[in-house]
């Protein structure tokens, strides 16, 4: 196998890794976003205990999410998301505008993590 063929193979591998990273980031963000959505649904239903349980599930899922996302996404973005998550539990004791606002911020950050990875012309430029 000469250098040219090796380069073609590596280039193919890089394309596969890029596509795989996009798929992995998309999957993780959807899963994690769904957990945040559960908290929102519980708050909508006025069930703060369920919201707290949904948060606990989110907390339990964090390690797996962080391990995968840490491979592809800058650490500072994940730290910001983690900081937003840490501020959520005290606000979940009751359905307040502050709790809604913190949850919305968390959901937007998760969405942004995926959107920034999408190779759209605006992100490329």
């Amino acid at each position: 196998m000469n250098r040219f063929h090796m380069s073609l193979a590596v280039a193919g591998l890089l394309v596969a890794v890029s596509a795989g990273s996009l798929a992995a980031v998309g999957y993780e963000c959807r899963q994690f976003g769904a957990l945040a959505q559960d908290i929102g649904d519980a708050l909508d239903a006025g069930d703060t205990a369920r919201a707290r349980r949904a948060y606990d599930r989110m907390e339990a899922a964090w390690d797996g999410f962080h391990h995968v996302m840490g491979l592809f996404v800058e650490g500072t973005q994940l730290h910001e998301l983690r900081a937003d998550m840490a501020g959520l539990p005290p606000l979940l004791a009751e359905d307040t505008p502050e709790a809604r606002s913190a949850l919305a911020r968390l959901e937007k950050r998760i969405e942004a993590l995926y959107e920034e990875e999408v190779p759209s012309i605006w992100h490329i430029l």
């Binding site: 250098r3 040219f4 090796m6 380069s7 073609l8 590596v10 280039a11 890089l14 890794v17 890029s18 990273s21 840490g70 491979l71 592809f72 996404v73 800058e74 650490g75 500072t76």
Partner: protein, 225 residues
């Protein structure tokens, strides 16, 4: 700190593998595209080393992508002249039949001082000695002297060298180089006989060279202390 150390080792391996993938062409005179790749690769590797917040994959992926592009582009330029012209440019003649091409010098933004400097670096101090001078695609200047100013060669003087092949290193630091023996058409028996004549054991050899004509040079190890 441990993370930085591990990342450094991984990036070192990736950069070495990348340079190897680019091949020996990369290690000599740099073509324009190769210069760009070298600068970019070193910069990307530095960024990934300094900032542990950046995923290592985000450092490795662009390095490998750039190197692959370089190898593929150089392969294409090898087969297709127009691609070669676009990527590497073409050599430009700046002195033709002893006369500097002023228009070309202006186009290349080369001053007379630059031209004379390039000639001096080729060992020529008199412009009138030059028949042709060419700026190569890697920026170096190749010079062809006028026939009358050329030094005579051994062939001109009818003085051929008895053995054209250079001597090979047969043994160094007490170790035999089998491939050198093969290349010379000799075998271990010849070496043993030679060392016996020289009253020297293989372990005592610091350097032993030989050529096809049978010329040898033996240097023994010096006693330590």
């Amino acid at each position: 700190m441990t993370i930085v150390l591990i990342r450094s080792l991984i990036l070192y391996a990736v950069v070495i593998a990348s340079v190897r993938l680019m091949g020996k062409r990369q290690l000599g005179e740099l073509q324009p595209s190769e210069l760009v790749i070298t600068i970019l690769v070193s910069n990307i590797a530095t960024l990934s080393l300094e900032d542990t917040g950046i995923p290592l994959l985000c450092g490795i992926l662009p390095i490998l992508a750039l190197v692959c592009c370089e190898v593929i582009a150089s392969q294409l330029s090898l087969h297709y002249t127009p691609v070669r012209r676009i990527i590497s440019g073409s050599p430009k003649i700046i002195i033709r039949e002893g006369r500097p091409d002023q228009e070309m010098l202006r186009a290349l933004r080369l001053s007379v001082d630059d031209l004379l400097c390039a000639l001096r670096m080729n060992g020529i101090f008199d412009l009138s000695e030059v028949q042709f001078a060419i700026v190569e695609t890697n920026g170096s200047v190749s010079v062809c002297r006028k026939f009358a100013c050329e030094s005579p060669t051994r062939q001109d003087l009818d003085c051929p060298r008895p053995c054209a092949d250079p001597p090979l290193l047969v043994a160094a630091d007490g170790e035999l180089r089998e491939h050198a023996l093969d290349a010379l058409g000799r075998d271990r028996a010849w070496l043993c006989a030679f060392l016996e004549d020289a009253h020297c054991r293989l372990e005592e050899v610091f350097l032993l060279t030989a050529d096809r004509a049978g010329h040898t040079q033996l240097i023994r190890k010096e006693a330590v202390g």
